[in-house]
Symmetry: C2
Subunit: 347 residues, 2 copies
Amino acid sequence: MKKPTPPVSGAAPNMKQVAEAAGVAVSTVSRALTNPGRVNEKTRTRVAEAARKLGYTPNAAARSLRMGKSKTIMIVLPGALYYGASQIIPLALAGIDGLLARNGFKILIANLDREEATEQHIINLAGSGTVDGAIVLSSAPPSVGGRSLKDLGLPVVAMLHDISDQGVPSVITNEHQIMCAATELLIAEGHRQFLYVAGPDGVYHEVHRYAGIREAIARHGLPESALTRTEGVGAYQEGFNIGFAAAEQLLAMAPRPTAALCCSDDAALALLKRLLDEGIEVPSEVAVMGFDGAAVGALFRPALSTIEQPATEMGTRAAALLLEMLAGEEVPPVTVVDSTILRRGSA
Amino acid sequence: MKKPTPPVSGAAPNMKQVAEAAGVAVSTVSRALTNPGRVNEKTRTRVAEAARKLGYTPNAAARSLRMGKSKTIMIVLPGALYYGASQIIPLALAGIDGLLARNGFKILIANLDREEATEQHIINLAGSGTVDGAIVLSSAPPSVGGRSLKDLGLPVVAMLHDISDQGVPSVITNEHQIMCAATELLIAEGHRQFLYVAGPDGVYHEVHRYAGIREAIARHGLPESALTRTEGVGAYQEGFNIGFAAAEQLLAMAPRPTAALCCSDDAALALLKRLLDEGIEVPSEVAVMGFDGAAVGALFRPALSTIEQPATEMGTRAAALLLEMLAGEEVPPVTVVDSTILRRGSA
DNA sequence: CGCATTATGGCAAACGATTGCCAAACGTAA
DNA sequence: TTACGTTTGGCAATCGTTTGCCATAATGCG
């Protein structure tokens, strides 16, 4: 019984060992494994067999070094969006991962929390050749001391935010238009007094969603007073608080709005709860419309009507764009994936 | 005016260019940057200045190759747990990332979906020196053809599941005990007939949670008939369906259970909704207790009582264990982080 | 059979950072 | 001034893979 080199030894076997086992040179092993046409079929199987027996896996660092690519993509996540009921980020990740993993890419996660040195950390990752590209889910590509992720020579794609004005191809949803459509729907059903439950001031989404509502209002000849916007109450991660604060504001208003359009499902659900607690009928007295499409909204009574973002598909599209950029192809500056209005009962 | 090498050139600057700029040898640059004591202070600043000016970032692949470590940790996620209302996975990730990033580690995500070749992919990552260790959130460490992640010579830590019997240090919560405590609480309040809304058959959590309830039942001398267990209805990701199916079962039972303990908040919320739709009072007619601690549960009416898992802390602890293992220290086979009962109204 | 052509495998030089070892330079003391 | 010790910087090997180039073997054709 021959003594096989144990597959589980301390050190991982390298190409040289495979070469010896197969009785060929390392270069032949390399070619046999990656460039099948270049080597005789019999040799190739012999090499493959030796590699299998030894449990050989090519060393990624060495390959990266030699090739100048890492087959790794960095996903830049804003810690702030990560909690609450909506599953935008996890779904987007699933979409991204699906396509990238299929194409042999690894996924590096950066910036789950927003710590001090994190931006520097991200820039370093990009500059060190650790990653071949990045998908940014935060509103601005990280930068430090004038050096920004986007001009580091790496392909970068944004999603959720449109930062094509900074030269970064972006995958977004039709926030403006869908919000406009939702408002028009409500107007058609007789609503005349609206409350927009706003998220953090100055955030990308806010501008577009609010503008969408205003457009609908204007288009139907309603006065400006038909729309009130809540004061920003802090970060998205405080989604519930946004909703609670909005409820206070709504309850104090006269005339009272009959429809509330919210920046997130978190805000909408909190608002919904508070209104119901106050004995207000939804949707007959006040209609509530969320934004995101959180599945759990369907369990509320009444079930939350909302605007469903195609998070998974946006992720897939962003990944596809990045792959094209890596292949040297031109990509459109903006890709729009449509959201849909999901009427479930609260509006 | 001298012509500075533009920081944003096509190729990233390497150590040799820094050395030239500073008028020293590469080895000196290396030592100046990583081993400050070994080189004259004046030289050190000169090198640091040159590096800064060129925008130098050490090449990670080269360093990995030379050092034999990648400063990268792989997180193995089960795609199945990723959706629904509970935020266990995102919170766990935040905990893990917090500690690892602070220690200079990168985080590689694997297996968001469960595709065909994924397990092989994971094994390859581990074998290729791409990662220095792994944290596993799925029930079993991936394996293919007899080669398992856990015996690949890499430090591996599990969380959420106890697989210490396979030699993998595990971070878990006291599912058995807390479920027992919750049941005792309900017994003390007069409940005598229980329904356990079960998740997928044979899953780790199921065994322990169910056993916890049984222990409480037995300890208080209640008959076995005091506890009914729903039939498994499929994967966790079908959380809502589990709850709906359980509702049907509960409604058909006589005598009707007065308390339902659920395997997840998703199931609990779906059950809650269905019961309320049927006009059943919660908690007076049927008390409902969830499991996970999803924040959104607080918005239901009544607010969902639940068992809150310390997901973030479990993540932090798992990361800490892994760091200790990387440092060659011994770690305990099992680490328990306590869950807490969160009484909010539905039980 | 001889020559030209192609298929195949091997040698060795990269890729960029780290580090053992040695040499130069410096300071100090005799 | 010489001898010695100490500090500091440089040379060069190394990590494991890929690949241009060359040598050889195999094949085809006249």
